[in-house]
């Protein structure tokens, strides 16, 4: 080991191997490009795709002929409180009809009635639109993508942690990383790079996300100079299990969506009706999370800061049959150690999804030449709030299609950029300095600090004083802890501590811009709630937050959202 690294040359380099990255790889390969896919974990088991069990939204109109891409588009814009990139959403809503059913033809099975898909109506959707996976969805997606990768001969580097993007005269030219399996450094050179590394919900103490979701791709793109958008919008999911304290969400969400489970507070009140007189239990995710949070503030919560989710109003055999149809739930049910016929599950909010991310246009191009971003790592699809019931996977599949085709097509005309050896040396020096330090603070400790700061001051409820304190604490982490990061593991092989040190660095940068964006947005809108500015201010804040790093300084500005056909209207904004 040392100065030596393996060099890999490819037309299109894709970072991230789950729904968005895998789909981009398939479409780029089918367009004739040479493709290399990299993941920091195992393909099909890493990131949040494998946990997406609730379905995928696609406006096929099989359950209600009134549904179509136009209605889907309108639901998404309304849900996002008009901050979405309408040009992008319009394209994705149309593409969904062809790109989503491909998963079914690749072997991932969804519930059908005759030759039509069964579709259920999630909160925020006008008509039934979500496909319901049969059995464990994540495992089916894994098999479906693996089969296509095999058919197309797509190469995947697993357990490969990317430490940075590499540039060449202001254009993205590749990436540098470490193969965890043998400790070897890897220099990846490409004509085009697609980021599909997911969101950053691991930034928060309570989260139902994969431990991989540390926002590495967002941080790397930001540090390379790409514009970020709407980072203040981070989604909190209200159906995370608090007892046992695992934030496991699939089972309670199943109870909520498919068994019409009801929330109760400590006093036995169905309190959601107070917050959402019309939507009742079917409020959007963040407002529902906040309702639970506020009940606790008022002393009406459950012992661990949540609420009680119950299906006791249903007949015993109805519940039994539901459980029987879902054998994948049985270990979760066993772990809960209670009888849902009688007992409620204690649930509460956890960070779930990032609406904010890398700014892209309708072709999924970032503001950095030769860099594309797809899926949750990107921004503009969801505005201030992603609606329920599976548009996240819809975005992955449709954006994967767009970027895969675009990047492959453009690669035909492009030369392979040269890599400045100085950049590689900087990366090597960064890794070496982490590894040679003999004492200090561990990556996991820094991550824990950041998670606590973000949960305390920058999660469901925010205000100016708290955000100022959060910024002060994060700056302290950056100035005192990051320079003292060390790796308490001398092995070259699968060095988890080294990976966690880089994740800590990535999270610290993102924390600063999330807090900064939340501080500047002086209004409340969906997932972003300020107690000192509790009202949606459409006069001043119908705007996207744009964040950019220039000459080592972080610049915050605003821009008007990209509006095509749905003009803002007060009456179109849903309650909450």
């Amino acid at each position: 080991m040392g100065q030596y690294y393996q060099e890999i040359i490819t037309d299109v380099l894709i970072l991230g191997a789950e729904a968005a990255g895998a789909k981009a790889a398939i479409d780029a390969r089918e367009s004739g490009a040479n493709v290399t896919v990299v993941t920091k974990g195992l393909m099909g088991r890493s990131g949040d795709t494998v946990m997406a069990g609730r379905g995928i939204q696609v406006p096929l109109g099989h359950m209600d002929p009134r549904d179509n891409p136009e209605v889907f588009f309108q639901d998404v814009i309304r849900g996002g409180a008009f901050l979405n990139n309408q040009k992008l959403v319009e394209k994705l809503a149309n593409l969904a009809v062809t790109e989503v059913p491909k998963l079914d033809s690749w072997g991932a099975k969804f519930k059908k009635i005759g030759d039509k898909f069964f579709q259920y109506k999630p909160p925020g959707a006008t008509y039934p639109r979500s496909l319901e996976p049969i059995g464990p969805a994540g495992q089916q997606y894994r098999k479906a993508f693996a089969t296509q990768f095999k058919r197309l001969g797509i190469q995947v580097l697993q357990d490969c942690f990317i430490t940075n993007l590499l540039l060449s005269y202001g254009q993205v030219a590749g990436a540098f990383g470490i193969s965890l399996r043998d400790g070897q450094y890897i220099l990846l050179r490409a004509k085009n790079v697609i980021l599909a590394t997911g969101g950053c919900p691991q930034m928060f103490l309570k989260t139902d996300s994969s431990r991989d979701a540390t926002g590495d791709g967002m941080s790397m793109a930001f540090n390379a100079g790409a514009e970020m958008m709407d980072m203040e919008f981070q989604q909190f999911f209200p159906y995370c299990c608090y007892t046992p304290p695992c934030e496991m969400d699939l089972f309670p969400t199943g109870m909520r969506y498919f068994l019409n489970a009801r929330f109760y507070n400590r006093l036995g009140e169905q309190f959601m009706e107070r917050y959402f007189p019309i939507a009742k239990e079917w409020g959007l995710r963040d407002p529902t999370s906040r309702a639970i949070y506020l009940e606790n503030k008022l002393g009406r919560g459950s012992p661990h800061g949540g609420a009680y989710l119950s299906v006791r109003h249903l007949p015993r055999n109805l519940i039994d049959n539901w459980l029987k149809e879902r054998p994948q739930f049985s270990p979760m049910y066993k772990m809960l150690n209670l009888d849902i016929h009688d007992d409620a599950v204690e649930c509460g909010p956890g960070a779930h999804y990032s609406m904010g991310g890398i700014r892209v246009n309708e072709n999924c191009e970032t503001t950095l030449p030769r860099l594309y971003a797809v899926g949750e790592v990107a921004s503009g699809m969801d505005g201030a709030e992603r609606i329920d019931g599976g548009p996240a996977i819809t975005w992955c599949l449709t954006m994967g299609y767009i970027a895969g085709k675009e990047a492959a097509g453009a690669a035909r005309e492009l030369d392979l950029p040269k890599i400045d050896p100085d950049q590689v040396n900087v990366e090597l020096a960064r890794i070496t300095s982490l590894r040679t330090r003999q004492e200090g603070i561990k990556g996991l400790e820094v991550k824990q600090k950041i998670k606590n700061i973000m949960w305390e001051y920058c999660s469901l409820v925010r205000d100016e004083k708290g955000l100022e304190e959060a910024l002060r604490l994060i700056k302290q982490v950056k100035s005192e802890d990051l320079p003292a990061l060390y790796v308490p593991d001398s092995s070259q092989i699968y060095n988890r501590s080294l990976m966690e040190a880089f994740e800590a660095i990535n999270m610290a940068d993102l924390a600063e811009i999330i807090i900064g964006a939340a501080y500047r947005r002086k209004e409340s809108r969906r997932s972003h709630y300020r107690t000192d500015y509790p009202v949606m201010d459409n006069h001043n804040w119908l705007k996207n937050t744009i964040i950019k790093k220039e000459n080592e300084k972080v610049l915050f500005t605003t821009a008007d959202p990209n509006i095509t056909k749905m003009q803002f209207s007060e009456t179109e904004v849903l309650e909450g």
Binding site: S46, M51, P136, M335, I493, Y494, S497
Partner: protein, 106 residues
């Protein structure tokens, strides 16, 4: 044995860049860490407090991704969905190439 007694957790450790062959290492884990908690919580405690060089996988924690599959007391188990016991022998899943400690190629 009282449920708050320490658990004895033995992990089969192996780093191919340093070790000739796998060898068991035992760790004492306090009652409040293991009792009523999952095997993955115990592994995390050991990694955070006793063995910062322990290699193991734990992405989803929601019983779905399968990355954390191990051999627990000679039977395959998901670390994230199995309750910890007072005496545990934790080995990598058999039949796969071991990358390091409990991390295997999948």
């Amino acid at each position: 044995m009282s449920p708050l007694d320490e658990a004895e957790v033995t992990i089969l450790r192996f780093d191919p860049s340093k070790d000739k062959e796998p060898h068991p290492v035992s760790y004492k884990v306090p009652g409040e860490v293991w009792n009523g908690h999952k095997v993955s919580d115990v592994l995390r405690y050991i990694y955070e407090n006793l063995a910062p060089d322990l290699a193991f996988r734990e992405p989803c924690g929601h019983f779905v991704c399968g990355s954390c599959t191990i051999t627990l007391n000679k039977k395959p188990a998901l670390a994230c969905s199995t309750l910890a016991e007072s005496k545990m022998l934790i080995e990598p899943l058999t039949g796969r190439k071991v990358i390091r400690d409990l991390v295997i190629e999948m």
